[in-house]
C-alpha cells in the first residue's frame, strides 16, 4: 500500500471521464485505523476507553476467580465448600439442581418434563427459522405442541396424572413464559386491529380491555386469578390455578402487545391499504398479506421488549404461593446446612434469566436483519 502514494497522482492527471477506481489510502481502513478512530479518537473517547479498560482489569479477574477458579463444585454442605475453596459454592446449586428445574414434579415422572422441553425446541425451530427443512410439517407439529406438551405434563389418558400444584422451578417459568408469548402475540394483533375497526362496538371493547389491562398491576391480576376467578365458575368445578395464571399473564401481555402493534400499524402508509383493497383482497387477506408483515416488522423491538418483560414477570407467581426458579432459590436459603449462600442463588437465577432473555434478544436482531434485507 505504500506504493499507493505514487500510483495516486494529483487530481487532473487523468483525462476527464477516465479516472480508474483506486483502493483507499491505508490510513482510511484496517484494524489500526479502527482502533485509532473508535477507541482513541479525541480526549473524551480516550478517557472512556482507559476507564473501561481499568474496570475490566479489576472486575474480570475477580469474577473469574469467584465463579470458576476458586469455586467449589462438590460438597455436602457450606462447610465442605469453605474447606476446599474461597469462591462460590456451586455445590449448593448442584445439590438442588433437580428442585430448581422440576420443582416438586414426581421424580419418577421427570422424563416427561424433559421430553416436553426437547419437543419445545423441536417445535420452535420451524417457527423461528424459515429455512427449516419440511417447515410445513414442522409448523403443524408446532400447532399441535401445546396439546401434546400439556398432556405430557399433566398426564391422564394413559399417563399418571400430576397435579399442577407440583409444578415448580424453571419449568414453571418456561411454561408460563412460552404460553404467554405464544398466545399474547395473536391476541395482541386482534386487539390492535379491533382498536382500528370502524365498528364502534368492537373499537370500544378493544380500547376498554387494553386500557383496563394496562391500568392494573400484574400482581393484582394474579391475586384475582388466585381468589376471585373461582367465584365466576360454577361451584364444584375445579378451574386449575395454573390455567388461571396462564390466562391472566397472557391477557396482561396481550394488552401491551396490542399497543406495540398499533404503533406499527400506524406507520403503514394509507396507500398500502388502498393498493391492496383496490385489488379486491378481503379485509383479512389485506391484513395478513400486506399490512401485518410490514407492521410486525416495524414492531419487532417493541414486541421483543414485551416478550422479555413477560418472561421475567413469571417470577411473580411467587405471590400466589407458586415456587418458580426464584421461589425455589429463596426457600432454599432457609436450609441450615447451606446458610448464607444467597449470592450463589441469585447469581444462578439471574444467569438463567439473562441467558433466556439474551437469546430472545439476539434472535430478534437476527430476524430484523433478515427482514431488513428484504426492504
Amino acid at each position: 500500500m505504500t506504493s499507493s502514494e505514487t500510483q495516486n497522482p494529483t487530481n487532473g492527471s487523468y483525462p476527464p471521464g477516465t479516472h480508474p477506481d483506486l483502493p483507499p489510502p491505508s490510513t482510511a481502513y484496517g484494524p489500526v485505523h479502527w482502533i485509532k478512530v473508535n477507541l482513541f479518537g479525541g480526549v473524551t473517547n480516550t478517557v472512556l476507553t482507559l476507564l473501561f479498560a481499568y474496570m475490566l482489569w479489576k472486575i474480570v479477574p475477580f469474577l473469574t476467580e469467584w465463579m470458576f477458579l476458586d469455586a467449589a463444585f462438590t460438597g455436602e454442605s457450606r462447610r465442605d465448600c469453605e474447606a476446599t475453596a474461597g469462591g462460590a459454592c456451586w455445590a449448593f446449586i448442584g445439590s438442588r439442581l433437580q428442585l430448581f428445574i422440576y420443582g416438586f414434579y414426581p421424580e419418577a415422572q421427570r422424563w416427561r418434563v424433559d421430553l416436553t422441553f426437547v419437543m419445545l425446541i423441536l417445535a420452535l425451530v420451524p417457527v423461528l427459522y424459515d429455512a427449516t427443512p419440511h417447515r410445513g410439517k414442522g409448523l403443524i407439529f408446532a400447532c399441535l405442541y401445546p396439546f401434546i406438551g400439556g398432556w405430557l405434563l399433566i398426564g391422564g389418558l394413559g399417563l399418571e396424572s400430576v397435579s399442577t400444584d407440583q409444578f415448580g422451578g424453571l419449568m414453571l417459568n418456561v411454561i408460563i413464559g412460552v404460553t404467554g408469548i405464544a398466545f399474547s402475540l395473536p391476541i395482541g394483533i386482534v386487539l390492535a386491529l379491533g382498536r382500528q375497526s370502524h365498528l364502534p362496538i368492537v373499537r370500544i371493547l378493544c380500547v376498554g380491555f387494553i386500557e383496563f389491562i394496562r391500568g392494573v398491576p400484574l400482581i393484582t391480576l394474579l391475586f384475582v386469578a388466585a381468589v376471585m376467578l373461582s367465584y365466576f365458575v360454577p361451584p364444584g368445578t375445579n378451574f386449575d390455578l395454573l390455567v388461571r395464571v396462564l390466562i391472566m399473564v397472557t391477557l396482561f401481555a396481550s394488552g401491551y402487545m396490542a399497543e406495540v402493534i398499533r404503533g406499527g400499524l400506524q406507520a403503514i402508509p394509507k396507500g398500502q391499504y388502498e393498493a391492496a383493497d383496490g385489488m379486491g383482497l378481503r379485509y383479512w387477506q389485506v391484513m395478513r398479506l400486506v399490512i401485518l408483515p410490514q407492521a410486525l416488522k416495524i414492531s419487532i423491538p417493541g414486541i421483543v421488549n414485551t416478550f422479555i418483560g413477560l418472561y421475567k414477570d413469571t417470577t411473580l407467581v411467587i405471590v400466589i404461593g407458586r415456587l418458580d426458579i426464584l421461589g425455589i432459590g429463596n426457600s432454599s436459603l432457609a436450609d441450615s446446612k447451606w446458610q448464607g449462600l444467597s449470592t450463589e442463588v441469585y447469581v444462578f437465577v439471574a444467569l438463567f434469566f439473562f441467558i433466556s432473555c439474551f437469546s430472545i434478544s439476539r434472535y430478534s436482531l437476527y430476524l430484523e436483519k433478515k427482514l431488513h434485507t428484504e426492504l
Binding site: E274, A275, D277, G278, M279, G280, L281, L289, Q294
Partner: protein, 264 residues
C-alpha cells in the same frame, strides 16, 4: 404539465368507442367529505375500449372521482354502475368490481416487503385463485410487456421511480381487468422517466383497454384519448375530443387552466 414528445405513429388506434356496452355509468353522483361537497352532480358514461383523460386544477376532485369508481371512496348520492354492477355498501359487489377494475396510483403503492414478482402474483393467487405457477408465468408475461422482466426478483425499493410505476401497471394488469384507472401516474416521476411510463400506457391503450387517466400530459392526451374531461371545483366543466379540447376550449375556466399549464 409538459408535452412529452410522443410520436403519434407509435400509437396505432384500433376501432375505439364503437362498443355498444357502457362499462361505467355515473348518474347524478354527489360526494361529500364531511361538510365539504367535493363532487357535484357528476354524470358520465364510459363505453368499453374508451380512453378518457381527466384534467383540472389541484383539488378539483379528479382523484376522488376515479376512486369512487372502485369504492376506495364512497359516494353519498346518485348511482354509479361499473361493469353492470351498481356500487353500494355491499362488500361482495365491491370485491367483484375491484377484481375487474385496476388502479395505478401517483406514488405507485407497491408492497415493499414483496418482490416485484410477488407483487404481481398476489392478486391473481388470492383474489382469483390462480395456481401459483400459472400466476407467475402470466406475471412474467406482463413484466415483459412493461419491459422489466429482469427485475422480477428484486424488491420495489431497489427500483427507480419509473420502473416502480411500470411494475404497478403490470401488477394491475395481472388481474386481467376490464377497466384501468390511473391517478396521475407520472406526476411523481423525474422527467426522464415519464416517457417510459407513458409508452407503456400508450401500448396498453392500443390493445383496446378501457382507461380513465387523470393526467396533465397533453401529448399523451392528444395521442391516446378519445375524450378529455375538464373538472373544476367538483364539477365536470367541459369535455371534448382532445384536439378540439386543447385547440378550442369553450369554457373560460378551461381556457384559464390550459393557459396556465401551457405557461410552464
Amino acid at each position: 404539465m409538459s408535452e412529452v414528445d410522443i410520436s403519434e405513429e407509435s400509437f396505432t388506434p384500433i376501432e375505439s368507442s364503437m362498443g355498444e356496452e357502457e362499462l361505467i355509468q355515473i348518474v347524478a353522483m354527489h360526494k361529500w367529505y364531511g361538510e365539504f361537497h367535493v363532487l357535484k352532480d357528476i354524470n358520465l358514461a364510459v363505453k368499453a375500449r374508451e380512453r378518457i383523460v381527466v384534467c383540472g386544477p389541484s383539488g378539483s376532485g379528479k382523484s376522488t372521482l376515479i376512486r369512487c369508481l372502485n369504492r376506495l371512496e364512497e359516494h353519498q348520492q346518485g348511482t354509479v354502475i361499473v361493469n353492470g354492477i351498481e356500487l353500494t355498501g355491499d362488500l361482495k359487489k365491491i370485491e367483484e368490481i375491484r377484481r375487474e377494475v385496476g388502479i395505478v396510483f401517483q406514488h405507485f403503492n407497491l408492497f415493499p416487503h414483496l418482490t416485484v414478482l410477488e407483487n404481481c402474483t398476489l392478486g391473481p393467487i388470492w383474489v382469483r385463485g390462480t395456481p401459483k405457477k400459472e400466476a407467475e408465468e402470466s406475471a412474467m408475461k406482463y413484466l415483459e410487456r412493461v419491459k422489466i422482466p429482469e427485475q422480477a426478483l428484486k424488491f420495489p425499493g431497489q427500483l427507480s421511480g419509473g420502473q416502480q410505476q411500470r411494475v404497478a401497471i403490470a401488477r394491475s394488469l395481472c388481474m386481467n381487468p376490464k377497466i384501468m384507472l390511473f391517478d396521475e401516474p407520472t406526476s411523481a416521476l423525474d422527467p426522464e422517466m415519464i416517457k417510459e411510463v407513458l409508452d407503456v400506457m400508450i401500448e396498453l391503450a392500443s390493445t383496446g383497454m378501457t382507461m380513465i387517466v387523470v393526467s396533465h400530459e397533453m401529448g399523451f392526451a392528444k395521442t391516446v384519448a378519445d375524450r378529455v374531461i375538464f373538472m373544476d371545483e367538483g364539477q365536470i366543466i367541459e369535455q371534448n375530443e382532445p384536439h378540439e379540447f386543447f385547440d378550442n376550449p369553450q369554457h373560460e375556466r378551461t381556457q384559464l387552466f390550459l393557459s396556465q399549464i401551457l405557461a410552464h
